[in-house]
């Protein structure tokens, strides 16, 4: 049996089990809603425009925040990977800060920026930027010395070594850092929106809880999962696969 068919069968069985459990009526519906009520909640949320609005707002935040962390993280990583004194100083801070879950920046961000978009953006950036920086630094650091010697013997120097050799050689590592950074950014954003309510998917989730509306809670969770998966499968995975194939890190399919 193909793995796709197996997967589809598995999900059908899972949904059937859900419906069967619901019909046993072991728990009240605000604890364990039916599949159909979650579906209805999804449809209603899309129809009244509240889901599209929340999705738009959350996506805008993550795109800006994630974009910022790439703009900061990649150059910082290039520096960390190439300049020993930066590695020795800034490098230890970056490593240390990675031990701090990004949502722990929220209180600080609220005090600095107040209840504003900036605060939540700050948390998103702090969530993503470190992994982008570290992966970039790693990729730069692991540039095969032979590539650099080859480029130098052909007369490349200075900036040409960066743009012509180091950056492309580090691209697979940068991409996996970008992928990791995206998922951290997404988590940070959701955590931030949950704690500090102001539109977005996280707020819909909080609202569901406050209204005792478990169907909405699950429906929004499904939306959050779907967006996360979509970014990974539709954007990162194909790009990463193509790059790894071309770089000879993985056999072509």
């Amino acid at each position: 049996m193909s793995s796709w068919r197996l997967r589809i069968l598995f999900f059908i069985a899972l949904l059937a089990a859900w419906e069967a459990l619901f019909r046993l009526r072991l728990w009240p519906s605000y604890v364990f809603p039916s599949m159909s009520s979650v579906g209805a909640s999804l449809v209603a949320g899309v129809a009244d425009g509240s889901y599209p609005l929340a999705i738009t707002i959350s996506l805008r935040r993550i795109l800006v925040g994630y974009g910022l962390s790439l703009v900061i993280g990649i150059p910082l990583g290039l520096l960390l990977g190439r300049v020993k004194s930066v590695q020795d100083t800034l490098g230890s801070i970056v490593l240390g800060l990675q031990a701090l879950p990004s949502i722990c920046w929220l209180p600080l961000a609220l005090l600095w920026f107040g209840l504003s978009e900036k605060a939540i953006m700050f948390v998103v950036v702090m969530g993503a930027v470190l992994s982008v920086t570290l992966s970039t630094a790693d990729g730069v650091h692991n540039t095969p010395p032979l590539y650099l010697r080859a480029a130098r013997t052909m007369g490349a120097r200075g900036l040409q070594l960066y743009t012509g050799v180091i950056l492309p050689a580090a691209l697979p590592a940068i991409l996996s850092g970008m992928k990791l950074g995206w998922s951290f950014a997404w988590r940070s954003l959701m955590a931030g929106e949950l704690l500090y309510v102001s539109l977005g998917l996280g707020q819909l989730l909080t609202m569901g809880r406050e209204l005792n509306d478990m169907s909405q809670v699950i429906a929004v969770m499904l939306v959050i999962i779907a967006i996360g998966l979509l970014a990974d499968r539709a954007v990162f995975a194909p790009v990463e696969r193509r790059v790894r194939e071309r770089w000879g890190l993985q056999p072509a399919r």
Binding site: A150, A151, T153, M154, G155, A169
Partner: protein, 263 residues
């Protein structure tokens, strides 16, 4: 054109103390000459090429190219490595054009030159291929084309065929002799393979190990193109091998000695 090495010495600092890599190497290479540096592994022959390429600096002594001291890499001397060191993110043609881009040759000219040198190494139909699609021998030919495209006066080749299978290596020997005859390049070729040195070189310099010194010089005047199985070549090989064997033994001895002293 003339490449001159004057009393070049180099010592590496390692954890176990100083390892002399090269001692007092003096050598002249004339324009168009094919010189092979032959020696056991660890005799510093790669270091010598790196110094000529300008990738490393000698501790004492000097390298001069056309009477100018060599202090940094330059496109008049291009080094080819044991591994092809092609860039996997570029296709074959862009790889060959890489060095030209680095020195600012305009794109159309770059592509034309890349195509011409890919023809010379008989890979004209592979210009759109990517590196991971090539065999080891093809990669080395691309590396050769990439170096030739810069139109250097001197090709420095650091055991470029050592990782290839015997058949591929033999055919590359033919090609390299062809290219050398066509282009009149000066070639300084490092190898630990006696027969390879005699197939390729006008002059074969036998190096001793640790510290690397030029111990003997052989002139090989056998007619070209030479092949690894030619009778005359096999005979010549025998004489050189006897000398080299002495060196290998001495190197092993030195290693044991070094070990004993440092423990």
């Amino acid at each position: 054109m003339k490449l001159e090495l004057r009393s070049v010495s180099k010592t590496f600092q390692t954890r176990r103390g100083n390892t002399p890599a090269l001692q007092d190497i003096t050598l002249d290479v004339a324009a168009g000459e094919f010189v092979c540096l032959l020696g056991p592994s660890g005799c510093g022959k790669s270091t010598l090429l790196n110094i000529v390429a300008g990738l490393e600096k000698p501790d004492t002594g000097e390298v001069r190219m056309n009477a100018q001291p060599v202090t940094e890499p330059g496109r008049d001397r291009v080094l080819i490595f044991q591994e092809a060191a092609l860039f996997p993110w570029l296709n074959v043609r862009d790889n060959v054009a890489f060095g030209l881009a680095a020195v600012g040759v305009p794109r159309s000219e770059r592509m034309a030159k890349a195509d011409r040198y890919l023809q010379i190494v008989r890979l004209g139909s592979f210009k759109k291929a990517f590196v991971h699609e090539l065999s080891g021998g093809m990669k080395q030919r691309v590396a050769l084309a990439r170096a030739l495209a810069l139109e250097p006066e001197v090709l420095l080749m650091d055991e470029p065929f050592a990782a290839l299978d015997a058949q591929t290596r033999d055919s590359l020997h033919d090609e390299l002799q062809d290219i050398w005859a066509q282009t009149g390049k000066t070639i300084l070729f490092v190898t630990h393979n006696v027969r390879e040195a005699l197939v390729l070189g006008d002059r074969v310099l036998l190096m001793s190990a640790r510290p690397g010194r030029i111990k003997r010089e052989f002139h090989c005047e056998l007619p070209r193109p030479r092949h690894i199985e030619d009778h005359a070549l096999v005979d010549a090989t025998r004489a050189v091998l006897a000398d080299l064997r002495e060196e290998v033994l001495a190197a092993a001895q030195a290693e044991v000695e070094h070990e004993r002293l440092s423990s």
